[in-house]
Subunit: 212 residues, 3 copies
């Protein structure tokens, strides 16, 4: 188990990088659909990749933000946007979107776990902590859609996304109470959230609609 | 007078609950109109009910937020959304909207009073304090409409809503200066804001349009 | 040089006033186009004039906001909105917009310089400081467009605006490192940003589009 956790610590840097990349590319594609210019492309990519965690830190009154502490990610994002505008074409969009589903699902789990853990660390009650985990994973995409003048897809695509993070967040809280180990809780949250999201993608799960 | 204030203190918990419920239901209905899924329904209900106070606290740099301190409201909101999706149908929408006008008008007054009082307590100048009162009462609905991809109805329906809270807020500030009693000022603000709003609803008052 | 800086200090108050006026009028016009009522007109004017700096201060966790410290600007804005609704008509719109281009361009430079300087003062890394400068100058307009339910024009009009502030911000950082004088850096940032923006307006420069 100890070895597994050690291995997970290293892995989480990889997952995080994948998740930020997935967020940035999702923002890039949304910006391209709306024919934004370079400024818009960068801003939407930034909001999608870092908006969730930034909103969480604003609400929890925590500083520094991730992108202030890890300035290199901003440079990377600038370069990515420039390269995308220069070299990315319509035919690359759909494969990119498909390829990003998996790092995005892994990232959802990791972001949820980080959000829950940060909220618990500053003494938030459990439900609030779980919601902070969901916000971390989901609100990047919400900000992307608000700026692109769309209803957030997280709110109306009827696919389980936030719900997977919600379940994973409760698993974090539960395991953390039971075992006292936040590393184990984090690992469980990532695995469970990712597993649920993967199942949802694979089996085309749909959240039941409000039959009005 | 002392007795009236004592009685008002108890009453204000009732008003607050009614106002949160009115906000949540207003968010629910907006989400239903836009065919949002459960995640969207909860988020929009949350934003409408708690968004104004949360924005005020962010601007004033005050913590904890109302929904962090009163976690049970989050559980209530979750339950309300689930029940609504299960049992609420189109035919319930219009009566709900109509029934919620009065708790909403009372809540507008209370939220305005709370906003002014919190802003004065941290030393804000008077106009800023009054605007914080308005923000508390009005910006929940603004956030609801932004997320639902509509121009905020508070900005273009030409019905006096924010303006009632603005007048009530100044009444708070004036009475508080004159008498030194924030409880009396609060009571006055609630009564005046509610009275104006009720008159506006009853007489169909309209804010004059910009004749362009 | 010393005299120039002294002169610039006085001038910057004038530039700032011009920029706030330009922002407020730009918000007014956008609100008029959308047929907002008085509440909407004031809110959009407020967001356009003060939204960028307020967002910057929220992100940097700095208080008080400009409009809290300089309450008279709020009174001025209220009066401006009332007067506009009473006396401004369609035929005044286009000349106003044209006349505001120059104070707006000057203000972009000053806001960028103020943003960079405040961010550096709280120890932000350089790229973050430059982005805070851009946010100060640009996000007022972004908030205006989000509330008016449009895609922000700063993101899709393909005209150099944020980019001028970005270049000016780097000039600030560079000169500040080299000379140690933040006054000189500020002056350089204003002149360069304004010069670029003026050139862009004069020569109709266009940011190359993403050829999808």
């Amino acid at each position: 188990m100890q070895e597994l956790l050690h291995w997970f610590q290293h892995l989480s840097v990889v997952i995080e990088s994948g998740a930020v990349l997935a967020g940035a590319l999702s923002g890039l594609l949304a910006a391209a659909h709306k024919r934004l210019d370079l400024v818009g492309v960068f801003t939407v990519a930034f909001l999608t990749a870092f908006g969730g965690g930034t909103l969480r830190d604003l609400l929890l009154d925590q500083r520094p933000f991730f992108w202030v502490e890890h300035q290199h990610w901003l440079w990377f994002l600038l370069a990515l946007c420039l390269l995308a505008v220069l070299f990315m074409r319509q035919r690359h969009f759909e494969p990119t979107e498909r390829a990003m589903q998996w790092p995005d699902a892994l990232g959802l789990g990791l972001f949820a776990a980080i959000g829950v853990s940060k909220a618990l660390a500053v003494g938030m009650p459990e439900l609030v902590a779980v919601l902070m985990g969901v916000v971390t994973g989901v609100f990047g995409g919400v900000l992307r859609d608000v700026v692109c003048n769309e209803i957030p897809s997280a709110f109306n695509d009827h696919k389980p996304y936030a719900i997977c993070a919600f379940v994973g967040g409760w698993a974090y809280v539960g395991w953390w109470h039971w075992s006292g180990s936040s590393e184990q809780a984090m690992l469980l949250c990532v695995v469970l959230t990712f597993g649920l999201r993967a199942l949802a993608l694979w089996r085309n799960w749909v959240v039941p609609a409000w039959k009005i």
